[in-house]
């Protein structure tokens, strides 16, 4: 452990006085190269990170308010997209990847998935009216059985994003060595390795700047969808035990964050429904985390650059769908960002699914908020499970089900 240079309280005091020094995770790289860790650690209080990309495992809780007569909603649709109603009476959860109920899906492959949960969330954030259709079986205390109405975010009691898994710490690079085009969540993959899909902000990405979760934890206040949010838990599939390089950077998908934030404070500029051809609907989202430079070690980790972050290249025609774990090789984000990578001697154009320019804008916006005193830092109330936790992502082990159990199902 290196010597503590400043505390959260001291940083927040400087924010209040307008004296805080903030740089982005991109700006800090050259700064450290120029001046060295020791000096920059003394000068810089906060480094801001950012990412903007498609984040599956996102969704929003909505409370629509009670109807007269009362209704305990059993089944609900928002602009034709099913929302989960099995919570209480008028609480709904709209998941980002839920397609519209009349979507032809992949019946004509590759399906278009024009509208889904992510688009509903975008429409809500943009302040557009959304059609709610709801059904119930009726009870003595909740007699109403049917409801059709327009709703608008301004009238909802609560509307908050609650994303079980965002901000993946590193991820695969997808290629397709087969002879036919593949339609995946990492984009359209052209045959014979015609392109390579990837999705990470690399040197700007939150968890790649704090690889061992030393400062990002439960309770960390963040930029989420253009508004304010919080880290509430480790994300689902959080996998700190992935092999790491000498800088602590995982060699594949590792840590993740579960985040929450008020949808009412968000902006459609930072939260947008997406349609991934042949795959499904989802949500593209901007997320940024401030990193307090508590000591030199914190700064060392967030001075990581794209050259030092490697991602595994995976065959999405075979190794990924069949879960073989096979890796074709590793490439750096600097190579990916250049537009061309070399795989097995072949030059392959890269096709990013996440936006570097928007990731940069998230980090710059967060920097500005902190400088202007609009955003202060919070100290985590509990850490995320780290390498020492032994937490490991498991695959499902299927168990045979006896015929007697299956009868009548």
């Amino acid at each position: 452990m290196s010597k503590t240079l400043r505390t959260y309280e001291e940083i927040n005091e400087k924010i209040a006085k307008g004296q805080v020094v903030v740089v982005t995770a991109e700006e800090v790289i050259d700064l450290v190269r120029e001046k060295g860790i020791e000096r920059v650690a003394r000068e810089v209080d906060v480094v801001t990170t950012g990412t903007f990309g498609i984040m599956c495992s996102s969704g929003a809780f909505l409370n629509i308010g009670h109807t007269k007569p009362r209704m305990k909603i059993h089944e609900a649709y928002l602009n034709g997209v099913m929302a989960y109603a099995g919570l209480a009476a008028v609480d709904l959860y709209i998941g980002a990847t839920q397609p519209a109920k009349d979507d032809p899906l992949n019946k004509v492959h590759p399906g278009e998935f024009r509208y889904g949960g992510g688009h509903v969330i975008e429409d809500l954030v943009a302040g557009r009216d959304v059609l709610l259709e709801a059904y119930a079986y009726g009870t003595d205390c909740y007699p109403r059985k049917k409801l059709v109405t327009w709703i608008n975010i301004r009238d909802l009691n609560e509307a908050y994003l609650f994303n079980p898994r965002n901000a993946y710490q590193n991820y695969n690079v997808a290629v397709n060595p087969s002879d036919k085009t593949l339609y995946t969540y990492l984009g359209v993959l052209l045959p014979r390795m015609g392109n390579a899909g990837y999705s990470s902000a690399g040197q700007l990405s939150p968890l790649l700047n704090d690889p061992f979760y030393r400062v990002i934890g439960i309770g960390t206040r963040i930029f989420l969808g253009g508004g304010i949010g919080y880290v509430v838990w480790q994300g689902t599939q959080h996998n700190p035990s992935v092999a790491r390089n000498e800088r602590g950077i995982p060699k594949g998908g590792a840590g993740t964050l579960a985040v929450i934030g008020d949808l009412k404070g968000m902006s459609p500029k930072w939260i947008q429904g997406v349609s991934i051809r042949g795959y499904g609907c989802s949500l593209a989202l901007g997320l940024g985390v401030p990193i307090p430079i508590l000591d030199e070690e914190t700064l060392y980790y967030c001075s990581v650059s794209d050259e030092e972050i490697l991602a595994p290249v995976v065959d999405y025609s075979h190794a990924y769908p069949h879960g073989t774990g096979e890796v074709l090789g590793y490439v750096s984000y600097a190579e990916l960002r250049s537009g061309i990578i070399k795989i097995q001697g072949k030059e392959v154009p890269t096709a990013p699914m996440s936006s570097y320019s928007k990731a940069r804008e998230v980090a710059l916006t967060l920097k500005q908020w902190i400088q202007e005193g609009k955003f202060t830092l919070t100290k985590p109330v509990a850490p995320l499970p780290g390498v020492e936790s032994g937490v490991r992502f498991k695959n499902l082990v299927e168990r045979p089900v006896e015929t007697s159990v299956l009868v009548g199902r």
């Binding site: 984009g187 359209v188 947008q272 051809r277 154009p349 928007k358």
Partner: protein, 137 residues
């Protein structure tokens, strides 16, 4: 691709859609052509995207002839449009575009579209998750 090839979109109103006009480009003007896409139904408007290869004069004469027969001739680039408000500059389309019509500007990392280089293959329309690339055909 041939240096003197010109990519055009032909629209055939109902009255001319069922007449063999396009082959006249070869017969009368000695032009070669590659049909890139076509959808013509006998009773509705038809659309054809083609590359016309030949000298500039012959191209102009050929296209003027088509126009005189009621065919609407437009340069191809009008048909794939980028809806800028929806584009979030990921670059998924850049890795798909075969001609460099879509490219990543550096160091801004903003994605730009040069309609002049577009051959309307529609790969970007397939690959854009934001549905920011639109085919107007």
């Amino acid at each position: 691709m041939n240096g003197n090839g010109k990519k055009i979109v032909l629209r055939f109103p109902q009255e001319v859609a069922d007449r063999p006009i396009v082959c006249e480009l070869a017969l009368r003007f000695g032009l070669q052509f590659n049909i890139l896409r076509a959808s013509i139904s006998p009773h509705r408007e038809g659309i054809m995207v083609m590359e016309v290869i030949g000298s500039r004069e012959k191209q102009e004469e050929g296209l003027a002839f088509l126009a005189s027969r009621g065919v609407l001739v437009e340069p191809l680039s009008q048909d794939i449009r980028m809806i800028e408000e929806r584009c979030y500059h990921c670059g998924a389309c850049v890795g798909l575009c075969p001609t460099g019509a879509l490219f990543m500007e550096r160091p801004s990392f903003l994605v730009r579209y040069d309609p002049g280089k577009c051959i309307a293959c529609e790969l970007c329309v397939l690959g854009c998750p934001a549905r920011a690339m639109e085919a107007l055909i």
